[in-house]
Amino acid sequence: MLTLTNIYKTFNPNTVNEKLVLNGLNLELNDGDFVSVIGGNGAGKSTMLNMIAGVHFPDEGSIVLDHEDITKFPEHIRAKYLGRVFQDPMMGTAANMEIEENLALAYRRGKKRGLGWGITKEERALYIEKLKMLDLGLESRLSSKVGLLSGGQRQALTLLMATLKQPKLLLLDEHTAALDPKTANKVLELSDQIIKENSLTAMMVTHNMKNAIQYGNRLIMMYDGIIIFDVSGEAKRNLHVSDLLEKFEQASGGEFANDRMILS
């Protein structure tokens, strides 16, 4: 359903900071895939997601989503197909606005905004019902400012916003990296639950190998702007962290995985 073909991207070309981030990336996603994406820092994981979301545009190559070439679509146009959760809990919500106002913005993703009321009564009932599913007590705080919520609550809310209108593809960019381990697990569980319930296609970037193995039906490992390892189904279920480290060593020519990956 998503096809990335020969994607190249260089940041700061012709300067001392020139960096080739994506080096002829190819990827084919099937309907209902839940892919965890791992790789060292600078491997191009986040850039790949940002490329799909339209934050950056590829120098070369094409992005096709559901038979539609979206390579040149600006970010706000393709937003109607995508749900996104960011690494920074501040990124996904508007802090000075109420919980229900944030949800209302998300509920209208991909629709034309007019001069109708920003929130209607019927919507509120829907929001309360959805917030109850999060089990964080947010359903009684509809008119609280989002800035008052904790990082975990904000990420859970962003996740809900990203899936309130069923997206064709859900992009999770290290969405638990800024949370404490307990909250991170809760948000991960929640993501898994929402993806399963709505049978969404999703990509999740993570630095945590255990999580990468535990969640999803497919795992890809990136190194230097290409995919070096792609495994799914039975083979993925039988993976161990040691297998991944070995793969990583092979690819990087003995150079060892960074500390964060070993520690986690």
Partner: protein, 329 residues
């Protein structure tokens, strides 16, 4: 004594006509988070257009207000275009529009200022609807001030109702969110460039309307009338926000700004009465705004914390004394 009261009354009426300027700047500065300098140009633009049409074309003063508002929208559109499409930093985009408007305003009026001598303005129109000064037994100037206050109340009322409605709509919510977190708004499928342009158009429209109203109130337009307008607007905003910090509802916040504008004019009238040179006014205003905007930083300094702790202790002590006294009774 009565002269002080009169000048305060006049100050209040001025505050109401200038309040719409503060509301316009509030949209760009607070809601959109853009320091929009073009408002200095569009304020004088409103005045120039209104006075030109009234003097040269003899049109109805009401209609000149609408036309002034419309041209303010165009000024906002230009700034928005420069900022979003041509990627010029917001503050510079505003300055470019402001500087360009200076020449345009001179072109419109054909001179540096235009007097509305003997012309019917919106103020005289309302004044004629009221009973005459002799019948009420008051001075003519008092009646004129009353008329100005009525006009000011009507227009600020209309503007506040409009803004309250507009920022509750889908587009209005998107504009508010754009000032808050543009990345999130784009992720929800909204063109943030468009929202910024809408906000700048709306803000400058109100600023131009205010310029036209002020011109009709003071009886002339001057090409330099916009100088310092943004600082005056910011002063009104911060005074309103500090004094009415409890206002949480959007409508209450807007009303707080209008009251802030009135209070600002009252303060000015008072310091002038106390003998401040009128030439020093802008410096005073600039200092007040600089101080008010630095409150978040000042709050973190030890001096501020010490003072606030001492004040609280004193307040507590007074309260204890008071309750003890009451207890004895």
């Amino acid at each position: 004594m009565s002269s002080i009261l009169l000048s305060l009354f006049g100050a209040a009426s001025q505050g109401l006509t200038w309040a719409i300027l503060a509301l316009g700047v509030y949209i760009t500065f607070r809601i959109l988070d853009i320091p929009d300098m073009s408002c200095e140009g569009s304020f004088a633009l409103g005045g120039s257009i209104s006075s030109f049409i009234m003097v040269s074309l003899n049109w109805n003063p009401f209609i000149t207000l609408l036309i002034a508002t419309f041209f303010g929208m165009i000024a906002g559109l230009v700034t928005g275009f420069l900022h979003t499409k041509l990627k010029i930093p917001a503050i510079l985009a505003g300055i470019l529009t402001m500087v360009g408007l200076y020449s345009i305003n001179l072109r419109i009026m054909g001179q540096a200022n235009t007097a509305l001598l003997g012309k019917d303005t919106i103020i005289t129109f309302v004044q004629n609807l009221l009973p005459s000064a002799e019948m009420l037994g008051i001075k003519n100037s008092v009646l004129q001030t009353t008329a100005t206050i009525l006009v000011g109340l009507i227009f600020t009322g209309i503007v506040i109702s409009f803004l309250y409605w507009f920022f509750g709509t889908e587009v209005g919510c998107c504009i508010r969110a754009t000032g808050n977190n543009p990345a999130m708004v784009r992720a929800q499928g909204v063109n943030t460039d468009k929202m910024k342009i809408f906000g700048l158009i709306l803000g400058n429209a109100l600023v131009a309307l205010s310029g036209a109203l002020v011109t009709q109130n003071q009886g002339y337009a001057d090409v330099g009338m916009g100088i310092g307008a943004i600082v005056i607007a910011l002063a009104s905003i911060v005074i309103g926000e500090v004094i009415f910090s409890r206002a949480k509802n959007f409508a209450h916040k807007l009303i707080a700004i209008v009251l802030g504008s009135i209070i600002y004019r009252l303060i000015i009238a008072l310091v002038l009465q106390m003998g401040l040179d009128a030439n020093d006014l802008k410096l005073l205003t600039a200092c007040v705004v600089a101080l008010a905007l630095s409150i978040p930083v000042l709050k973190k300094t030890t001096a501020y914390i010490m003072i606030s702790i001492t004040l609280k202790k004193i307040a507590n002590a007074i309260q204890i004394k008071f309750t003890v006294k009451r207890g004895r009774k």
